[in-house]
């Protein structure tokens, strides 16, 4: 029929031509290379002083073994890496860190997202709620940990429970302030993501017959998936690096039940070599986990330009 024929304007319907995937490698002359190095120099200098050089030093520290409570060090080479990273202490620390991540990341992400979805509407006074929900982000880790420490204190707490001294609950007690803070971070970032979703798309979904739950799961969440992906990655990293909550609430106890990798590193005041190896271990774990998050989940993330 003519509708279809007339609409097939050649200029408009020409297949979208994709740019060649790999541009031919061009040669750079010495002048260009020199200029590029010059531009890179400031950031290279900063990164070298504050990251690359200390990291190299850390790697080398890992090859020294403490003697007589840290008063002198012997170089033992790569053996110390094998010994520490293959040992039970690293495994225990890694397991506790994982527990902390499992407690804090999904809960913070889900609660923050739900609150953001609830607060993303045009209502009088909604800004007040938005400010309240995001306020957990503005309080420091120490402050939030102290609040939860006293909230759940068996003697003076609002909830008179003894989670902090119960080995099976202690990690959860230490995770609570982190959940509370992650919730605020997730709230702020998801809310910003929601505000970028065009109103007309949500209205179209309403007219198409999507109910509130379907709109959330089929339209909203896929559209903000890049934001959720970003949050997941940084919350996992935060989880592996958490320290103050554990130090304030459980001090690694009871009986080492909440000694995460970071806490174990912190304890190596007598043995810098072992601490360095544990640090390198933590770095590698974080790197590998982040890599897998991207490798596995990124395929399910919708970026607008695909």
């Amino acid at each position: 029929m003519s509708v279809s024929n007339a609409m097939a304007a050649p200029s408009d319907d020409a297949p979208v031509v994709e740019a060649p995937k790999k541009a031919r490698r061009r040669r750079y002359d010495a002048k260009e290379v020199g200029l590029a190095v010059l531009f890179l120099l400031p950031s290279l200098a900063v990164f070298s002083i504050f990251f690359y050089l200390p990291f190299a030093r850390l790697l080398s520290w890992g090859t020294y073994e403490s003697v007589r409570g840290g008063s002198s060090y012997n170089q033992v080479g790569i053996d110390q890496y094998q010994e520490v990273l293959g040992g039970g202490e690293f495994r225990a620390g890694l397991w506790h860190s994982l527990q902390f991540v499992i407690y804090t990341v999904p809960a913070g992400l889900i609660l923050g997202t739900l609150l953001a979805v609830a607060a993303h509407r045009r209502l009088k006074g909604i800004k007040v709620f938005q400010a309240i929900f995001s306020s957990t982000l503005a309080s420091s880790v120490a402050v939030s940990s102290v609040i939860f420490f006293f909230l759940f204190n068996p003697a003076v707490g609002f909830f008179e429970v003894s989670w902090q001294s119960d080995p099976s609950w202690a990690m959860f007690a230490a995770a609570l302030p982190a959940i509370w803070q992650n919730l605020g971070l997730a709230f702020v970032i998801v809310l910003a993501g929601l505000q970028a979703v065009p109103d007309e798309v949500m209205e179209a979904a309403r007219l198409d017959g999507y109910g509130p739950l379907r709109r959330l799961t089929r339209i909203t969440l896929p559209l903000i998936s890049p934001v959720l992906m970003f949050l997941l990655v940084i919350l996992v990293i935060y989880g592996f690096q958490a320290f103050a909550q554990i130090d304030i609430i459980t001090k690694g106890g009871p009986g080492g039940a909440t000694e995460t990798l970071v806490f174990k590193i912190f304890k190596q005041t007598q043995d810098y070599g072992k601490g360095a190896v544990l640090s390198v271990g933590l770095f590698c774990v974080t790197l590998v986990v982040t890599f897998f998050q991207f490798a596995i989940l990124d395929r399910r993330v919708h970026y607008g330009d695909e």
Binding site: M1, S2, V3, S4, N5, A6, M7, A8, A9, S11, D12, D13, P15, V16, P198, E200, V201, E203, A204, A205, R206, L207, D208, G209, Y210, G211, R214, I219, P222, L223, S225, H302, G304, D305, E306
Partner: protein
Amino acid sequence: MASVTFDAVSKRYGEVTAVDDLNLSIDDGEFMVLLGPSGCGKTTALRMIAGLEEISDGKLLIGDEVVNDVDPSRRDISMVFQSYALYPHMTVQRNIESPLLVRSYDVDGPGTPTRKLTKAERDERVAEAARVLDLEPYMKRKPAALSGGQRQRVALARAFVGRPKVFLMDEPLSNLDAKLRAQTRIELVELHARVGTTIVYVTHDQVEAMTMATRVAVMSMGKLQQVGTPQEVYSRPVNTFVAQFIGTPPMNCFPGQISADGRGVEVPGGTLPLPAGLQAVPAAGSTVTVGVRPEHLEVSGQGSLGVVVRAVEWLGHECLISASVGDATIVVREPGMSASDAGHDLRLRVDPENVHLFDPSTTLRIG
């Protein structure tokens, strides 16, 4: 298919009245264009039909049913948005199919309960929509990989696939280039002729209104000004707003006085004939607003109106001559190349049936 009726419908946002006491009946199968400048309330009126805006006052009917409190998804309407509002994370296929996946339809005839479509029924409808709108090669693509015209057709297909009672369209052509817009106008008219569904179409572009509408409803400042066929609003505008909103360039309006003998209108530079078929001629000497369209002013040596040319714009197939009548500037449309030039005197004539008179105080049409 169904009619749509606004019965004294108003929409207020606090102190602001976006739509004021709108009474409008849109017939079953009609292509009704709501036309007006931005902020006139036309989009609000459309969104009230969709159920995306609550109605402050009055009743809205789709068919015989009052739908004021009916959920948008249960009104059996579909809408094409200005931005197309496609789901960016879904393929074209999935975008078109999406209403069929979630809504229930009255497929087994009247009296039977509505139900979800089966996979085979869905595939058939999607395939039909894709064929009619020539989208078959693009079904596996995401919207980002489509051109503006293709996205617009996907939006049309998504609206079309559910076979709704009423199509709503909110400036669907405004993001297309001029050439594609002209094509799509014709295609929309053909699509309407083919499916016969009631279409309510919002635009500020009077060319779209004139070329596609069965009837046009002209709105301004939240109020309905005139409803009629494109020919009616063009040839018998009810007030100076409609007169000047319809037509490019707009109708020339300038002050005049009924002559002493009551047989003409005196304007600076000459006399114009009174409109043909005027039932009650205003009293001699009374002031009126005279309206003449640029295409109805004819350059002629015997013309009754003398003007001084200010500028001549040549557009290829025609010239637009700007000239002064007293303090007012008028535009004359002359086919081909004009012999006039800036500073020249020019005589113009106009047929009586092409002269419009308006009351200067109420702006309403006289006669």
